[in-house]
């Protein structure tokens, strides 16, 4: 059974005199001064609490105290300043103009050395490579049209593989109401495209005559 700790009067007087010390230091000092290795820090703390010998600290900043960082400007630690991101810098994984990658939809994205129209201070922007090449060869894609991949291989970004079709033709080529253009064999693709073109012309003519 553990024995109660014996406290001697000179020890108690010392502890009370040092009640406002940080706890760890107080314990160290006590053990060194009185050679009491049998007293643990917890036991000493509990003694002080029982006797009401609190440190007087409650963890709050005293009212009207000066902040610790008063007058200092940020990046006052040279170690953090060395590696911290500076304004106007590029991310460490920035690739720069000429880089290409394949996005989640299978299109090839190219980084070109032109300012981003949505962020004019930038030096580069990313574009779809097939559209970029097509527009260099044939001018801007007209309003209401989009580029369709003819052979189904989106990594073939040559302008001859892409055709500007009206947006309305898309659902008639593929999807729920489409003719299965992408899934069809290569021999039938031109004919399917021709049928869809004719259908689109019919719809336009019908709309025109109705108006």
């Amino acid at each position: 059974m553990p024995r109660p700790i014996t406290w001697y009067p000179d020890e108690l007087a010392w502890i009370e005199a040092h009640k406002d010390w940080p706890r760890a230091l107080r314990h160290q000092g006590f053990v060194a001064r009185f050679d009491r290795a049998d007293v643990s820090e917890g036991a000493l703390n509990a003694l002080c609490k029982r006797k009401g010998w609190l440190t007087g600290r409650n963890g709050c900043f005293p009212r009207g105290a000066t902040p610790m960082n008063k007058g200092k400007k940020m990046l006052y630690n040279p170690n953090t300043a060395r590696t911290q991101f500076k304004a106007g810098g590029l991310p460490h994984n920035a690739k720069g103009a000429g880089h290409e990658y394949v996005d989640t939809d299978g299109y090839v994205v190219l980084i070109v050395a032109e300012p981003n129209p949505w962020r004019p201070s930038s030096a580069t922007r990313s574009v779809h490579k097939h559209r970029w090449l097509w527009e260099q060869a044939n001018g801007l894609v007209p309003q209401g049209l989009r580029l369709k991949c003819l052979d189904g291989d989106k990594s073939n970004t040559d302008p001859s593989n892409w055709r500007a079709i009206p947006i309305e033709m898309g659902p008639r080529l593929n999807g729920r109401f489409g003719r299965g253009y992408d899934a069809a064999p290569a021999e039938l693709k031109p004919t399917i495209m021709a049928i869809t073109e004719l259908e689109h012309a019919v719809r336009v003519a019908r709309k025109g005559s109705a108006a």
């Binding site: 004919t191 049928i195 003519a205």
Partner: protein, 79 residues
């Protein structure tokens, strides 16, 4: 004059496209062309389906050889 190849179908389609694109048509003629083109589209869709089936049959024969020939009575017959 059997015009039953895909290329002939293409020429029909493009001819219909040109007729529709003609600017000199009056509304009645446009309607007539629209109706005719609608019918052409219907027939062309069926031709495409037919072509797909033929291609599938040819592919099967190319992969599996003479084993599947009893299932494909049209293979080997010329027009």
């Amino acid at each position: 004059m059997a015009q039953d190849k895909l290329g002939d179908l293409d020429s029909h389609l493009f001819a219909a496209l040109e007729r529709l694109g003609d600017q000199t048509l009056d509304p009645k003629q446009i309607e007539a062309e629209v109706a005719r083109s609608g019918a052409i589209i219907g027939v062309a869709d069926q031709v495409i389906q037919n072509a797909k089936i033929k291609l599938a049959a040819a592919t099967l024969f190319a992969i599996h050889g003479a084993k599947v020939q009893p299932m494909l009575p049209q293979i080997g017959k010329s027009d």
